[in-house]
Every structure is written in structure tokens, then in C-alpha cells.
Symmetry: C2
Subunit: 111 residues, 2 copies
């Protein structure tokens, strides 16, 4: 099923206010993450994974945090995360939609 209507995808409730929907090829995964639990008063704890990640902010505002930067990002802005690099986000608005892509695929995200 190469074309994927968002409304037809199974939703994973990561935690209350955080929903994840995804599709993937062999080595590439796209994840739509919808947050309705912002804003946060501080960033999540930093996390890291061997997967390379690229992301885009579709809706809302976040703070993107690494060991060396804290950058406010809004709709259209992007961030990239090399393999193993610690990173975190802080939700700055109530509602946020992110597109996260990973290679290799996040086996831990598969339903």
C-alpha cells in the first residue's frame, strides 16, 4: 500500500496526548506524531538511538535541544539527528505535529 491515508492508519497512543501513525519501506520509516499535551515547562530528558533521524515541524512550536544548542522551531523548520546523538524536544504550544523519519526503521515502533 504505497499511498497511505492518515485516517486509515492504526494509531499508537504513546502516552495520553501523544499519537503516532507510521509507514515504512525496507530501511526508511516515516512517523506522524501528534501532540495535544503541550506546552511543557522544560524539555524531555535527552535520548539517543542508533537510527539516523530527520524531522519537520508541520504544526506548532518546539524547542529542539542538543548538548550544543537550544533552537526554537516552528512550521516548516526541520532538524537532523546523526546516529547516537543525544537530543530532546520541549513542546512550546498545546498542539504540535511532527514528521519524524528514521533509517534504519524503528522496529520498536512497529505495532
Amino acid at each position: 500500500m504505497p499511498a497511505v491515508k492518515l485516517a486509515d492508519l492504526p494509531v499508537t497512543v504513546v502516552k495520553p496526548g501523544v499519537e503516532r501513525r507510521l509507514a515504512h519501506t525496507d530501511r526508511l520509516m516515516i512517523v506522524t506524531v501528534d501532540f495535544s499535551n503541550g506546552p511543557q515547562s522544560e524539555p524531555d530528558p535527552p535520548h539517543a538511538h542508533p537510527h539516523e533521524q530527520v524531522s519537520a515541524v508541520v504544526e506548532g512550536e518546539i524547542l529542539f535541544v542538543t548538548e550544543s544548542e537550544r533552537t526554537r522551531l516552528g512550521p516548516g523548520d526541520m532538524f537532523v539527528v546523526p546516529s547516537g546523538q543525544p537530543h530532546a524536544i520541549q513542546l512550546l504550544s498545546k498542539r504540535i505535529r511532527l514528521i519524524d523519519c528514521f533509517t534504519p526503521i524503528r522496529e520498536d515502533f512497529l505495532p
Copy 2:
């Protein structure tokens, strides 16, 4: 520069009405493509590439076309393209924003 403000990125004018802005890690590329030259009366000719691709529609409406399907996609919808699979899109609205991700990176897209 892990955080990327869209307004700070160099723009590549692919052709009049089609602008591309991108960021990448070693093996993963994210490309924001802004179309202002729609709608089209028919799909582009199919194309294929060895890169795996996943994409999301952020704004506007497209028809996603492969040898086996023609599916109308709007904001939030996604499509995935395995390595080597012919695919095409048809612009159904004047303005469209797509997020395209590729592994490996599209060396041909680098400025």
C-alpha cells in the same frame, strides 16, 4: 547544524514554481518541496530511483500514481516508494508542500 530554520536554508529552484530546501545526515535526507505551479491536468511522467522514499503531504492535494494505483492525498497523508518503483504525482491544487525523505541521500540534490 542539527536545527534547521527553513528561512535560513538555500533554496533550489527546480523549475519555475517548484522550490526545494533540504537537510541530511549521512544516509538520510529530508527535502521540503514547495509547489506554486499547480494544478496539473495530468500526472508527471513516472520516474524511479534506487533510493527508498517516504513522503508526507503538508499542504494542498495531489494524486499519487504508480503502476497499480491512483490515490488522492491531502494534508497529513503519506506515501512510500520502495527502491526502483516507478511513481509520479499530479498536482491537484495551486499550492502544495511535500516533505520527501530518502535513503541513501540524493547526491543529485546537493547544491
